[in-house]
């Protein structure tokens, strides 16, 4: 068994691109090879293993990535003719404009543009001009008779040999270049920021005695591996309403390179972007869904999708007019709460797909250009990537009241369901949430909150039933008072008093009443407050109180009856 390692020395997606490129190279050198890439956390390296010895042949030249041919490049190879693909894409959008309402599955296949178009267009934008960039130089060089020499340089530099780790990767590659390609002038290329987020054109002087700008150089073959990895694991997105560029690269934990490539193809077909924050969230959710769905042989029965791919390494290239500069480098993790535990894996898979679909639709329904919804998206992103229970509760306790406001204005609303909220919270590691949400007192009070907000609003809007008041500011009041147990209990008691008074008044007028909140329920909530953080209990009450119960009739628009309050009363 041969092992190769790519050190994660940069801590950006550049290392991952190189590992994926190396995986493609190894697979190409041994066609029957299944190359697995693993993250070795004890050494912080990406490890790739092959069962057969890998030997480059001087006769066989492999094409690692597509050459991008533009109009200005008259004689270049025609692997990917950029203008033709651009035209095809424009035609598709024109067709769609003329055929509004056509379902995606009814669109003629020959019209659909390639889902990886943005990978090429972003390179055309960032490597101006492409045909004289290192990308094209490396393509030509690897197509030459020196191909085997370059491959030898890469294999030696990345071989997992203890002695070879004593120097840096580029030093090892430099040594290989002298050994195998002596006298070759084009064995180094400029380091480009789209493949190396932290090494753009700029100053990198070892001594503060000059201000010279320059572009770093690196061994050609190492950069060529990154170009190869780009088409395997990268996604390039232009956030809605901007000219910026967001690059996301899937970070492997333990997966075959070929499988990763297939998953990313499927991901690009399913992924629909949005604003900059939405892109982060939707990418993580869509990749998790793709990983769950992709497992067509149902081999993945235990564990989490992030055991295969841990998340996305990202870089944000802000449009600065003349060029795009990096303003953020980060890592967005896949949710840890999505997990299968072996027993009833198929059932769990289906349930998680439903949860993820609900979250995705909720996120897509928010508009990043509105400050309130932007804040909601930021909270959700914090929860998703940081696995932060508090951030999720914070999001939920703001999302419900926000949707209530939208419903009141007759706008489109999408509620989260209590069942899915509970499923997520129960899988978020060590927290006290399970004991709180299963408490009958908690459920009773949350139900009262729901009836005093969502149910009352829909009864008023749809059934013109004004029996009960809509408690608009209840969530804000409960959240504000949750600084101490006493203040929160006072605010909650005030609400319950009003709720019960309304019930009595309705009964007095001969109207049907609502389920009462008993003293036992309040006592149980009081006990929960003694045992837990009042802020968490308050946020959970709001989250559950403003969420939709699974038994409610599911409708998305307020224009059509969302629920029948009378029916609800009967059920309760």
């Amino acid at each position: 068994m041969n092992t190769f390692t790519v050190p994660r020395s940069q801590g950006t997606y550049a290392d991952t691109l190189m590992a994926l490129g190396l995986g493609r190279l190894l697979a190409a050198l041994g066609p029957s090879e299944k190359v697995t890439v693993r993250l070795d956390t004890a050494r912080d390296v990406l490890t790739l293993t092959t069962t057969q010895p890998v030997m480059p042949s001087a006769e066989v030249r492999l094409r690692l990535y597509d050459y991008i041919k533009t109009d200005k490049d008259m004689n270049g190879p025609t692997d990917y003719v950029y203008e033709r693909e651009k035209e095809r894409r424009q035609q598709f959008f024109k067709w769609r404009e003329m055929h509004r309402g056509v379902r995606p599955e009814d669109i003629p296949e020959d019209l659909i543009p390639r889902s990886d178009y943005s990978l090429y267009s972003s390179l055309v934008d960032m490597l101006k001009p492409v045909n004289t960039s290192g990308y094209a130089t490396a393509y030509r060089e690897l197509a030459s008779e020196r191909f085997a020499g370059h491959v030898q340089v890469a294999l030696e530099a990345l071989a997992d040999h203890p002695d070879s780790q004593e120097t840096s990767l580029s030093e090892r590659a430099e040594r290989g270049l002298k050994k195998y390609l002596k006298g070759n002038r084009v064995n180094e290329v400029s380091v480009v920021q789209i493949f190396n987020p932290m090494t753009g054109k700029g100053m990198n002087s070892p001594k503060a005695n000059s201000i010279g700008m320059g572009q770093e150089k690196a061994p050609l073959v190492l950069e060529a591996l990154k170009y190869t990895g780009w088409f395997i694991g990268a996604v390039a997105v232009t956030p809605k309403g901007s000219k910026d560029l967001k690059v996301l690269v899937a970070q492997p934990t333990n997966i075959e390179v070929e499988t990763l490539q297939r998953i990313m193809i499927e991901f690009r077909q399913n992924f629909v972007g949005g604003g900059a924050i939405q892109v982060d969230i939707l990418a993580a959710l869509t990749l998790t869904e793709t990983l769950l769905r992709h497992d067509e042989h149902k081999t993945f029965k235990r564990g989490r999708p992030r055991d295969l791919l841990s998340g996305f390494q990202t870089a944000y290239f802000q449009n600065l007019g003349s060029a795009k500069g990096v303003t953020n480098i980060s890592f967005i993790a896949l949710p840890a709460w999505v997990q299968l535990d072996g027993d009833q894996a198929d059932e769990q898979r289906r349930a998680w797909m439903e949860v993820l679909a609900e979250h995705r639709l909720v996120i897509r329904g928010l508009d990043e250009s509105h400050s309130e919804e932007r804040t909601l998206l930021e909270k959700y992103r914090e929860f998703l990537s940081g696995q932060d229970t508090h951030a999720f509760l914070d999001f939920l306790s703001d999302y419900g009241p926000h949707m209530l406001g939208r419903a009141d204005r007759g706008k489109f609303t999408r509620w989260m369901t209590t069942e899915h909220i509970g499923r997520v919270l129960n899988h978020m590691g060590k927290n006290n949430v399970t004991s709180i949400i299963s408490d009958p007192g908690f459920q009773s009070v949350a139900g009262a909150i729901r009836r005093a907000t969502r149910t009352a609003l829909y009864a008023r809007k749809l059934g013109n039933d004004r029996t009960y008041d809509v408690h608009y500011g209840l969530a804000q009041e409960l959240k504000r008072s949750a600084v101490t147990k006493a203040r929160f209990m006072t605010a909650l008691s005030d609400f319950v008093t009003e709720y019960m008074t309304e019930n009595l008044r309705a009964a007095d007028r001969g109207k049907r009443g609502r389920v009462a909140v008993t003293t036992e329920d309040l006592l149980q909530v009081g006990k929960l407050l003694d045992e837990h953080d009042p802020q968490m209990v308050a946020m959970l009450l709001i989250a559950y109180g403003y969420a939709k119960e699974p038994r409610e009739d599911v409708q998305e628009f307020v224009e059509t009856p969302e629920e029948n309050p009378t029916a609800l009363e009967e059920q309760e």
Binding site: G11, A42, D44, T167, Q193, G200, P206, L320, V326
Partner: protein, 227 residues
């Protein structure tokens, strides 16, 4: 082996650009590199007793092995700041133009320890080094203040210290890999001095930082020490 270990409390945000990074996107190291620590001590020596004394210190400090033990927690904040950059065509009298660039700032919680191998030093040099470490109050980018807490000698370093290639490595549940720079064998005072044009001799060492990524989002990443 005898290690002189100085303990500090980081009191401000730390940032030290990775030597692979350019000014276009200053990703920070999680620990000060041996190069940065030695240069900071030389700076202390210049300010304390002048250049001649600093040159003497440089003579024996240059070759000392240096290791650091990062604080228990580190939170890296992703930020972009306004920077000055030389334009393609500079106007007379205005060599820079403002733009924005990515920078990382690290907030530490816990003690930062710096260890220097003093086995080959005499008693005078050891005392001098202790005095220099006592006066060291800044590492990395200007403003990365640290407060001296104390110092002592250790026969060997524990697993909370960074391991370089060639060190005896303890298997940890998680590490972060960095290429750290150190003074190379050809480093001289003139090569170090910013008043000359001689290129410094920087040696890259592969280092494993005993940190584990705990939480990450667009704006920040939290690490916890594993050793």
């Amino acid at each position: 082996m005898t290690w002189l270990v100085a303990t500090y409390e980081p009191t401000a945000l730390f940032s030290l650009k990775d030597s692979q990074a350019t000014s276009a996107a200053g990703k920070s190291l999680l620990v000060p590199s041996p190069y940065a620590i030695k240069t900071a001590l030389i700076d202390v020596a210049v300010n304390w007793q002048g250049v001649k004394f600093a040159q003497e210190v440089f003579g024996w400090l240059r070759v000392l092995p240096v290791r650091s033990s990062p604080p228990r927690w580190a939170c890296v904040t992703n930020a972009f700041i306004k920077v000055q950059r030389p334009p393609k065509n500079a106007e007379p009298g205005n060599p820079f133009k403002p733009t924005v660039a990515f920078r990382e700032y690290v907030q530490f919680r816990g003690e930062l320890r710096l260890a220097l191998d003093i086995s080959c030093l005499g008693e005078t040099e050891r005392q001098t080094l202790t005095s220099l470490l006592l006066r060291l109050n800044m590492l990395g980018k200007r403003g990365g203040f640290i407060q001296w807490q104390g110092s002592g000698e250790l026969p060997e370093l524990d697993i909370s210290f960074v391991t370089h290639t060639g060190d005896v490595r303890t298997h940890l549940s998680g590490v972060i890999m960095h290429y750290l720079d150190d003074y190379g064998p050809k480093m001289t005072w003139d090569r170090l001095s910013t008043f000359t044009t001689d290129k410094p001799d920087r040696m890259i060492v592969s280092a494993l930082i005993p940190y584990r990524l705990v939480r990450s989002s667009k704006r920040s990443t939290v690490y916890e020490r594993t050793g």
